[in-house]
Structures are given as C-alpha cells and as structure tokens.
Symmetry: C2
Subunit: 142 residues, 2 copies
Amino acid sequence: MKPRLTVVTLGVKDLAASRKFYLQGLGWPASSAGNEHVTFIDAGGVVLALFGREALAADAQLPAEGRGFGGITLAHNVGSRAEVDAVLEEARTAGGAILKAAHETFWGGYSGYFADPDGYPWEVAHNPFWPLDSRGLVQLPP
Amino acid sequence: MKPRLTVVTLGVKDLAASRKFYLQGLGWPASSAGNEHVTFIDAGGVVLALFGREALAADAQLPAEGRGFGGITLAHNVGSRAEVDAVLEEARTAGGAILKAAHETFWGGYSGYFADPDGYPWEVAHNPFWPLDSRGLVQLPP
C-alpha cells in the first residue's frame, strides 16, 4: 500500500452549518465535484470532504453513535507567528471555538487550536523546523 | 485562512502497535523527524502523524474520553479495482479489520473499508471520475 492519504472526510451533524463555516467563514472554495449531500474542498495535497455523520458511518458500516474526543486532529501550518494569530482570529470570527490560545509549544513552535462546528480540532501552527514548500505544505525530512 | 490541511494526527492507544501496523504491516516509511513519542509519515500531500491519544487530547486541551465512531474517515484512492482488492488484502494481513468488503458503490466506483488498530476507518477506493496525478493524489475539479 503506497503511503497516500487522499481524502479526509468529516462526518458533520449539519452540512449547511459546516459549509457556512468552511466556505464562508474560512473562505475555502468548494469544488464543483460536490452536490447537496457532500462538499469537497481542495486542501492543498489532500481532499477535505464534508458529509453527513450518519451517512458516513453507514458508508463505513459502523454504528453512528459516538461521543467525546474522536481521536483525530487536523493541522494547518503557516509561515509565521503572526499568521497563527491571524488565522485563529479568523476562525473565531467565523464561529469556531478557540480550544487553546496561541502559545509557544514544547516542541519549539507557536500554535493554538480551534474547533469547527462539530468540535473537530484544528491546530494552527508555525513550526520553524518544518519550512513550507511553494504549495504551503510541509516537506518532511526522509 | 488558505485551504490547507497539512497534518492529520491519529491519537493512538498503543504507539508501538500502530507503528507496527503502518510501518511494517502497510510498509509506510517513517520520517526521521519523529521520536519515541510521535511518528511522522509523508502521506503524499499531507503528513500523517501517530501520537498517543491522551497526549493528543491534552495538547488540544480537550478531555481524552471518547467512544464509538470518532466522526472522521480517511481514504486511500488507487488506480484500479484490482488495486482496491490488493490493498484491502494487505491491510487485512497486517491485522486491520475489514469493515466493508470491496463492492461497487452508489457513486459509481469500487471501494471497501478497513480499520486500523484504533478503529480509524480507511476507505480504499477506485473512483473512475477522479483520475490520480503523478503523485497518486486526487486532482479535484475547481
């Protein structure tokens, strides 16, 4: 199996509210590939999909019930501390809850977390050890 | 906020078991950037990180408790139906649970799902409407 993660799908309780948050609040463009049941966003090197939570669980043949921390976090790396602050403020204005204010991290960077309308955690981080490439993506050392 | 998802972190119950699954079972290379607490994998256009679940929740300032469907699924797109079958078999051999056998989907493709050691669902899919680029990643229409 090649090391490839091609799509991350967020199971959402209210697709309209999630579309409003990501597309209007954060200003992310939706692909024409979507429809009234699913929204696809080109997130740089991976597709981010918004799909109804119950339908997503059913698609994976899993019970839809779940509560608390889902176990997965998402990150958005930026090129400076000022950008971390700006993005967190943008997320807050869009209605995201700030889980953790921006701060110097134990690993030598600067980051904070917000939650989207479903509580999915996004870390917004400046990692001086991980420069971003021309697409704004992290280039990991081999 | 630019539409960029740079890192997906899986909060895992047993880092050694997850490393064994992804690195040995699926054959994914770990970046030298990791250490005994975190494993980083270049997943094509996004970094996949394996980190202790409790530590991850603490990092996001969230209670660690959670159960059931976490709400997020991951996908691995491949170029043919035969590859879907082969990858699902590889995941099963590695110890992944097959959640859903490969089948023709309502959206016109062919896919199945497996679960990693923490139960995180991976869809392995051939989508004839979404050709893969030279990096094996999906190119969404604008």
